[in-house]
């Protein structure tokens, strides 16, 4: 399929945190995100989760 569904976009956003996405995958993801506010928000949520874990990994968070 040329167009990702939200389910595929979510999976690609997650996998993109663990591996290098292909050029085609990145292009399809970018296209989907340009048309989907919900998945753009999901992308921001994944970034926040990663930053939170980085902070927890470094100093345990704010204690």
């Amino acid at each position: 399929r040329f167009f990702y569904t939200c389910k595929q976009a979510h999976q690609m956003l997650s996998e993109g945190m663990d591996r290098q996405l292909s050029v085609a995958e990145r292009a399809q993801l970018k296209l989907h995100l340009s048309m989907c506010r919900s998945c753009t928000n999901f992308s921001g949520q994944m970034r926040l989760l990663r930053e939170a874990m980085k902070k927890m990994s470094k100093d345990g968070g704010n204690e």
């Binding site: 921001g44 926040l48 939170a52």
Partner: protein, 192 residues
């Protein structure tokens, strides 16, 4: 260098948090207490190794992470947590329940705002810990290895003897569950 009695006091204060982090990764009270004890002993045996370039807390957590990685490498396969096929199926069903048949979400994801403000709040991290505790054991272990111990995907696959595609699925499930949990319990977005 911190004076030894003061170092003792500070490490004692950190101990409950260190135990919580070890438990999140190991899901076994005995193993968690062992690695925390080993980490604290290592620091007390060579207090001069702490140069003060980072905070004591960052230094201690760094030592604890090494101790946990050592334990996983020594006995990783033995203390592996097997998820049953049943739980694997229920995990897949949980993800399916978030999407309609056409692959689009039942409910739009909301914006969580700037990470900066959120990550300055102590209670946010307590909520995140609670969400991590709720993850299925194997999913939690894999996620913590990736995001807390900061191991590469290759290292995790080698340690747990799983394929990369299996790992990506487990990490995806962990992130979706954590997203749902934080959305509900921190950002206050009730499912419609």
């Amino acid at each position: 260098m911190t004076a030894l009695p003061e170092l003792h006091r500070q490490l004692d204060e950190m101990r409950p948090a260190l135990l919580r982090f070890a438990m999140l990764q190991l899901r076994n009270q005995t193993h968690a207490e062992d690695v925390v004890q080993e980490a604290l002993l290592a620091i007390l045996e060579k207090p001069d190794n702490f140069s003060g370039k980072s905070s004591l807390r960052t230094y201690v957590i760094g030592i604890l992470k090494f101790k946990i990685i050592d334990l996983l490498r020594l006995s990783g396969r033995e203390i592996q947590l097997a998820d049953s096929e049943d739980s694997d199926q229920s995990e897949a069903e949980l993800i399916d329940s978030l999407f309609r048949a056409d692959g689009h979400t039942h409910q739009d994801a909301s914006a969580w705002g700037s990470p900066h403000g959120t990550l300055e709040q102590k209670d946010f991290f307590r909520t995140l810990e609670i969400c991590l505790e709720k993850l299925p054991a194997q999913t939690s272990r894999v996620f913590m290895m990736r995001e807390w111990l900061e191991l590469s995907t290759e290292e995790i696959c080698k340690e747990l003897d799983i394929t990369t595609s299996n790992l990506w699925v487990l990490l995806y499930r962990a992130r979706l569950r954590l997203r749902e949990c934080l959305d509900l319990n921190w950002f206050g977005n009730l499912a419609k």
